[in-house]
Each structure stands twice: as C-alpha cells, then as structure tokens.
Amino acid sequence: MAISREEFDLIRSFVHEHSGIQIGEGKEYLVENRLTVLMVQNGCKDFIELHKKLVADAGPLRAKVVDAMTTNETLWFRDASFFSAVSDFIVPQLMEKAARQPQVRIWSAACSTGQEPYSIAMLLDHARRKSRGQQAPPLEKFQILATDISPSVLVIAAAGRYNQLAISRGMREAFLERYFNKTGTMAYEVDPAIRKLVTFQQFNLKNSFDGLGPFDLILCRNVLIYFSNELKAEIYRKLHARLTPDGLLAIGASESPRGYTSNFEQVMVGGAALFRPKKGS
C-alpha cells in the first residue's frame, strides 16, 4: 500500500525521539505492518494524520505506537553459554554475596515478556534446592527488577502465563515440571514463589537511572542493538553508574561496549563474556 517517504520519515523520527529505537532505511514495511491498524482505529486516513495526532496528544496513543514498534523476541534461557555461566558461576557468587549482605539486586533492563528474569529466578531457586537449603540464603534476599518500555509485554510478564508455543521456546522439561502450574489446556503459569522474586515495572532506558540500584547484576541484552551509537554510549555510562564495584553487566552475545565506553573490562565467566566496572573508573 506504499507508505510515502514523508510518512515514513515522520513516523520514524517520532519513534526515535520517544524510545531511542532506530528504524532503518528500507524498513517501510515495518511501519506499515505494525501501525496501519492503529492508524485506522484512530480515525486517521494516512500516517501524516496519525503523526499530527501523536504530536498534539501526549495520551495513550503515543505509548501504543512505541509499543507496536518494539521487537519483543525472547526465549527462556536465551543463549546457552550465557545461561551456563549464570548457573555454574554467577548464581554461586550471588549466593555467597547474599550470605554477606542484606540484599542482592538484579536488574533485567529490557525484559520483554518475562522469560529472562524468570529464567534467572528459577536458577536461583534451583541452586538453593541443590544445596538442600543448608547454608543457602533465603530467596527473600534476592530482588529482581524487570523493566521494559512496552506496556503490553509487561502485562504478559506480570501475569506469568504462557502458552505452549512460548513454553516450547527454550523451557527445559525438568524446569517446566517444577516451576509451572498447568492452567487450562494450553496455558502454564509460573509458580507464585518464583513470581514473587520479580517486580515488573515500565521503564524507558532513555530516562534517567537515578534512584535505581545499585545492582549486583544487570542484564541489558538484545536491546541496545536498536539504538543509535550516541544513545548506546549514554546507556552504557548510566549502566556503569548503577553497578556495585564488583557487579556484572550482561549484554547480548553479538554485542560489545567497545567503542562506546572504556569504563568496563571484559571478564570471561565460563564460556561467556561479561563486563565489570574497571577499577577506579
């Protein structure tokens, strides 16, 4: 249906300004496919009218447009080498920390439908069970904050309900049995004890991080790839300021802070690369 150059440019600059998400050249189809329904539902005859509405009205339409333009692809235990590093090395370290300090804080900074923070929560609980609860610190010592810009994914995440398809993407049989309750024919619900560990909240990574953390572990995976280089650099700086001195930052397997900041050093944990604040930085 051929979106015009002018329409495409208006919409993509709006989306960039409000979410940091860059819609690349040649991605006209993304705008068309994801926004035409909203355009029509809001009584607009083209994207120019939709843009006018967006500019004039700071109401829920803005959030809906940004929401529609986010890519929410995610899975359970996404990236095997990262999650083996979590279960073999990072979780044991966090357990030790929890024995020494009042709280251990973890932040999943673009949590999408919740698979990432729940995967972490399940591994924490799994480690406690393996140690037979002897000296293992209570689960209440761990706090997982999970945020995303998209309100619709947060509804799914907070409900902790997934269909067969979502479950089939990365969930292990043993964990499915232990950490989910079957509800109805097709739905699985995350166990309340696991859900209790995670707090979901809407948050735009473009905003100030003041008041957040400090965190012992931050996961900011597969989201910075959608942003401009300047915004990547800014977010790496803000993440650095929210980590404890011995805290760890996890990013996507294809990502690297190199070129955006020199405040982090890479550490190999098992087979996975993580990043920690450089001493004195």
Partner: protein, 126 residues
Amino acid sequence: MIKLLTIDDSRTIRRVISGIGAMLGFEVLEAENGAEGLAVLGEHVHEIGLVLLDWNMPGMNGLEVLKSAKANPRIRHIPVMMVTTEGERDYIIQAIQAGAVHYQTKPFSQEEMATRILEAMGMGGA
C-alpha cells in the same frame, strides 16, 4: 490445542498456511469458501484462536465473510486477519473498520506470515 482457520479458495495457499501454522505449534483447519468458513467457525468456536481470511473468493468475498462473522455474537470475538492481494490502503482501511485485527498481503514469505500470525494473536512479533 489452539487452532487456526484458513478460509481461502486456493488449495496452495491453504497448504502453505497449514505448514506455517504447524511450525508455530497450531493445528490449522481449512475452508475453501466463505460459507464453509462460517460453518467451521460456528462449530469450533471455542478452539479457534485466529482466522486467516482471503479477500477474493467466489461466492461471498472476504469482506462479506468478515462482516457476517462480526455480526454474529457467538463468533464475533474471534480475531480475523485478512490475507489479500489487495494491498491498497483503502482496502485495508475497509477491512480494519469492519473489525479485522491485522492483514498480510500476498505474496508473503514464511517468516512474514509467521510474524503476522503471532502479532495478530497478541504474542508479539519477531
């Protein structure tokens, strides 16, 4: 198991959509015209999670099928996605105004169709 329903007079398109549905973990029911489609919808109302509806069909066209589905209180809640060669904005606007939740133009790739199906069912895109 959540089912999809494809209403299309082309056997090839029905086959392709069944394949994509299976890949996503859905069983796919098929109907080759509007009247048959509405009958299947009525019969499987509690299982069907999404209807993929062709526009140009002999007999009732897709828009007419959509309107009569939306006029029927038993089945009106089932989301319908148009699958159409009519990529013109006016057509798409008509379909959405009549209650379609999404649309996919033909021809399409497997990935595109899979993404559209998940989006239309509120499961997020890829």
